[in-house]
Symmetry: C2
């Protein structure tokens, strides 16, 4: 029975998994990404993890999910801002040579979207938008029963749609991006600006925890976060017409708390024909990316 290997290259965690042809996870392994060691160090880690998850199995192919921008056709990571020294790395070729298996590269959010569609919250739908909200905002689009790629597989860069003329700077170098307004980093920044104090750093997680305990400032900040998310979701409905929005990433744990305000915001702004589309928490958690990468490897 064919086995497919997925690798999920994250800025902090590196994961690998072996899936059988029915997409059951046979093995999973992970380690902190050697982000400071450059591509060579990470390639060593990948080879080690692939050996670990495929020991005793005979894998057919490897799929790699990576943060972008990528040149998908060439299998090259053009630039990975959170990994030191990653510029024009022909990752698919390097992994293929190192592991002796065919390897293909895909945007990490696309991989996670694929997994949530095939095996997670969006099973059985024709149209679904996957949004991951953590430090940044990424996404993957399933539409008309297919993963939307676009030219060079660059479609669905939803975190960088401009939604405001507020001059909020974004990690991409631009201003007014949805990510700059609604990501976990943006929430943490607003909490700091609002004067929230803590012994350690003021993070999005801290704001969410305090909101859960009824802290007034934190509740106000989470409501604001929900409104910003709702504005972006409204755009996604008009742009991609999904049957469901699936939210992953760290902030998706707060969806129950934010759901009311998000729904109010969407309903207030979206055209009637687009109302009533459910927003659901992703089902596969942090393994969505590695599962999706293996699914990609299994595609013809």
């Amino acid at each position: 029975m064919p086995v497919f290997i997925g690798i999920d290259l994250g800025g902090t965690e590196l994961r690998a998994a072996a899936l059988d042809e029915r997409a059951a996870i046979l093995r999973h392994a992970q380690m902190p990404t050697a982000a400071e060691g450059g591509p060579a160090a990470v390639l060593d880690q990948m080879a080690q993890l692939v050996a670990e998850v495929s020991s005793g199995l005979t894998p057919a192919a490897i799929g790699i999910g990576s943060p972008g921008p990528l040149d998908i056709a060439a299998g090259t990571v053009l630039h990975a801002p959170m990994l030191r020294g990653w510029r024009d790395v022909p990752l698919a070729r390097l992994v293929a040579e190192r592991c002796g298996l065919p390897a293909r590269l895909e945007n990490d959010a696309n991989a996670a979207a694929l997994a949530e569609w095939r095996l997670g919250a969006g099973r059985g739908l024709m149209h679904m938008v996957y949004v991951t909200v953590s430090t940044g905002i990424g996404g993957g689009i399933i539409t008309d029963g297919r993963l939307l790629h676009g030219h060079r597989s660059l479609a669905g860069e939803i975190g960088h749609m401009m939604v405001t003329d507020q001059a909020v700077p974004c990690a991409c170098g631009g201003r007014g991006c949805w990510e700059a307004l609604a990501s976990g980093r943006a929430l943490a920044r607003r909490a700091q600006e609002a004067g929230m104090r803590a012994e350690g750093p003021v993070t999005a997680r801290l704001v969410a925890e305090r909101a859960g305990l009824g802290d007034t400032m934190a509740l106000r900040l989470m409501a604001e976060e929900a409104r910003y998310l709702g504005l972006g979701f409204t755009n996604l409905l008009h742009l991609y017409a999904p049957q469901m929005i699936v939210m992953g990433g760290g902030l998706s744990a707060c969806l129950p708390m934010m759901e009311g305000e998000i729904t109010r915001t969407v309903t207030a702004h979206v055209m009637p024909a687009y109302r009533g589309i459910p927003i659901r928490v992703a089902a596969l958690g942090p393994r969505a990316g590695v599962i999706g990468a293996a699914l990609l490897a299994s595609q013809p």
Copy 2:
């Protein structure tokens, strides 16, 4: 040889055309839409135009392009704001019964996008975004070699992505939509607010004409229009990753005048991987919609 009929239902012009299977236009006819007469009057007009363009031919099917929102699967126009009394009109069925031919309904901007892709400015591409900028802003998306539909064919409602928190009201009832900022109606409104005077009404066309003659205020307004278009185009690049943006509608005639400022705006805001994508004037002019509708009729 099979012949296919297209109908393009516009707020001011109603068109029909007969195309052969190689998509050559055999006949074309048009008349002002009886927008005040309700669906019955327009249906009479459609039957008349279809008879006119198909006389002596044996058409196989009819495609109808209509402004939305539509229920594509049911073939129903849910609401057409610029046509009096159009609510829940089962247009595909009514046309099919009246003309004795199978008929299918499609969003008018999707139809025009299909035409520009198959026969116009975007021939041969895999990924293309068609943007029509006139009174409002609409669009149709070709991606991965297919027309993007989404749930109920509602994808690509690009005029109503929010791009600003300026409280500019939009025809959709919302605020801050790209259409509210960058449509011909928005340009005309800004010209009026800036104190532009004319014997007749101050329209987008008037502003463009005066800019062509070197009028300082008009040039400033056109530059501002170009910037707003450029902001929306930037989002379209990030969201759909086209190889080309094709601009149709009345304002596309001004693209040569605005091109420099649009390109500067896009380049300033778009991520490097998305740079250098050409923006081209649509090639088929006002007949794109009716040609696309006939192409739809010819699809299995």
